[in-house]
């Protein structure tokens, strides 16, 4: 289209410079919760001299990575203004499918493992293939569940809360059905690779933490530098407007629930690798923790706000509270009360910001 030459270009005389501390993370809930986290860590340091030991820090890093990947996933959903209560069940179901498939494929006589003449089992195919297939099977399950969630919410227009609450029940039930309540254990020739990939570490950094960092960076790029991310935010800001401006709302919504389910599935598989088992009650009621972590980190359940950094900060905060209270040898009955108090105090710090403006 043709543009008019501007006689006098628009200038903004009443706009000052935004100071660094009024911008980006410093003006966000994430920033203030991070501040609260730092304060909390200092307090914990004085409550227990062992808090800042290398071993404990490794532990904390591993433990929070265990829910952080799922939190990254649910953050997408929360940004669109949705919610996914099925993440806990999904973690369990994916883990279970993965280890069942792994065991199944490793059974002598399957396509992958043959009996050698001397009666010992021999892996006939590429090493790692069984692992790959079983992890894919677990993720595939998650994919399908995410698709069903997305379909019900985006196409049929059901409420995300009810749909995913139903799915929580469905998926957990299926986990009981397939395992007959017994849970399952990864096994077979590839189990060792599996354990190495899930609970090993690289130069002292736990593997799950590395995955988390990679996924968080990818997520940051996707959210802020791709059209898809833009659409996710637009959906959460004003769904009607998103629809009117031609954003494929249905597709974006479905994608978001699929991402969330996949993240939960991956999370479950990693946990099961660390546990060495996929019990049927694994990750029960983790959904509340995962949502809480995202929300504490600054995602807004009303939609339109959230990001990977916040998700991680929220998870770290929850883990530091848990770990710290045990280290500080607080009476267990009081622990639960204190967890609640600290959570509320941590988000309260964010109010400093509104007072300051």
């Amino acid at each position: 289209m043709m543009t008019l030459p501007l006689e006098n270009p628009i200038s903004f005389t009443n706009i000052g410079r935004i100071r660094w501390w009024q911008r980006g993370i410093f003006a966000s809930q994430t920033g203030y919760v991070l501040l609260a986290l730092v304060v909390l860590m200092i307090v914990m340091h004085f409550a227990s001299p062992y808090f800042f030991t290398q071993g404990n820090m490794q532990n904390v890093a591993k433990n929070f990575s265990f829910i952080a990947i799922a939190t990254l996933g649910i953050t997408f959903v929360i940004i669109t203004g949705g919610i996914d209560l099925s993440v806990g069940s999904m973690m369990c179901f994916s883990a279970m499918i993965t280890s069942m498939v792994m065991v199944e494929l490793s059974a002598p006589g399957s396509h992958f493992v043959h009996l050698a003449a001397d009666g010992k089992t021999v892996v006939a195919n590429v090493p790692g293939l069984i692992l790959l297939i079983s992890v894919l099977a677990g993720l595939c399950t998650a994919f399908i569940v995410g698709l069903v969630n997305g379909f019900c919410i985006a196409m049929l227009g059901l409420s995300p809360f009810v749909t995913t609450l139903g799915m929580l029940s469905i998926v957990r039930g299926l986990a009981y059905v397939v395992s007959n309540g017994r849970g399952s254990f990864p096994g077979g020739p590839d189990a060792d690779y599996f354990y190495a990939l899930t609970s090993g570490d690289v130069l002292g950094v736990p593997a799950p933490f590395i995955y988390l960092v990679i996924l968080a960076v990818v997520m940051a790029v996707v959210l802020h530098h791709t059209s898809f991310g833009r659409h996710v935010f637009a959906l959460g800001g004003n769904e009607k407007a998103a629809e009117l401006t031609g954003i494929p709302v249905v597709r974006v919504k479905i994608e978001v629930y699929v991402i969330c389910a996949l993240a939960a599935g991956l999370q479950g598989i990693i946990i099961s690798g660390w546990l060495g088992s996929a019990p049927a009650n694994m990750a029960t009621s983790y959904e509340l923790n995962v949502i809480a972590a995202a929300v504490i980190g600054g995602a807004n359940l009303a939609g339109g706000l959230g990001g990977p950094l916040g998700a991680i900060v929220g998870c770290v905060l929850l883990e530091v509270i848990r770990n710290g209270l045990v280290l500080a040898q607080v009476n267990s009955y009081w622990q639960q009360t204190l967890v609640g108090v600290i959570i509320i105090l941590a988000v309260l710090v964010d109010r400093i910001r509104s007072r300051m403006t």
């Binding site: 289209m1 043709m2 543009t3 008019l4 501007l6 270009p9 628009i10 903004f12 706009i15 790029v221 802020h224 530098h225 791709t226 059209s227 833009r230 659409h231 935010f233 637009a234 959460g236 800001g237 004003n238 009607k240 407007a241 998103a242 629809e243 009117l244 401006t245 031609g246 954003i247 494929p248 339109g304 706000l305």
Partner: protein
């Protein structure tokens, strides 16, 4: 003036729309030719916005047929209408409050740069393009501000700027000048003139009589969901149109 011989871009026959017991539209026939500017006027609640939303694929009509570029069309979603070349400035602006002005302007058609297989947003290009569009409208709107924090007129400028991005065949503006200042009103009117020159059909909904008489070739008056008049602008007068709107005069 409009080339009445050519096929109309838009042709409506017998359009009706009911919301439960409310008959928002009833038997509306209408056509718009390329390069023609049609003013749509009517009292509050006359059904103007509803008509726009039906054409834009936002609602489906209860009765009647919409033809675009000579073909009967059924839009299921707004994106369908956009795809054939219909651009709309909605009365409620359709902005995502949590995004910046530039992001809103480019919503649904972001500019990207390819990095290998990955297309990343081109923030700079979008911001500078948006700034230029706001400049054209003489609006003091900053591309990087959140829409949430903007004044009513700045918001409207963002919504208008959107229509400038594509090569639309029909632009519908639902009260585009309601909240904007004198100077920007002029710019919007001159924008409509330019669209007309380029052969784009424009449908302007406004309660501001002078604006309608300044740019429209034809004026359509609605009353309580029915079309009451459809006259070339030089065959009518503001007084007559006012009488038609208020119902003092039944039809013309």
């Amino acid at each position: 003036m409009a080339s009445t011989g050519a096929t109309p871009v838009l042709e409506l026959t017998g359009i009706g729309k009911e919301f439960g017991a409310i008959r928002a539209l009833h038997g509306v026939d209408m056509h718009v030719h390329p390069g023609e500017v049609v003013g749509l006027m009517g009292d509050n609640g006359a059904g103007k916005s509803t008509l726009v939303k039906i054409i834009a694929g936002n609602f489906r009509p209860t009765h009647g047929e919409v033809r675009f570029d000579g073909n009967a069309v059924h839009f299921y979603r707004p994106i369908d209408a956009r795809a054939v070349g219909i651009e709309v400035v909605y009365q409620d602006l359709a902005l995502a409050d949590n995004l910046t002005a530039a992001a809103n302007v480019f919503l649904g058609r972001e500019l990207t740069r390819k990095f290998g297989p990955i297309a990343l947003l081109d923030h700079k290009a979008m911001a500078s393009r948006a700034l230029k569009l706001f400049g054209e409208l003489r609006s003091e709107t900053r591309p990087d501000d959140l829409v949430k924090q903007m004044s009513g007129g700045q918001r409207q400028a963002v919504a208008i700027a959107r229509t400038r991005l594509s090569n639309a065949k029909l632009v519908m503006m639902d009260e585009p000048t309601a909240a904007i200042s004198v100077r920007q009103v002029e710019q919007v009117l001159s924008l409509i003139h330019r669209l007309k020159e380029q052969g784009v059909a424009v449908m302007l909904i406004s309660h501001r009589m002078p604006d309608v008489f300044a740019v429209c070739d034809r004026v359509v008056v609605m009353r309580r969901g029915e079309k009451r008049a459809d006259k070339a602008i030089h065959d009518t007068s503001p007084e007559e149109v006012t009488a038609l709107i208020t119902g003092a005069k039944e039809a013309a």
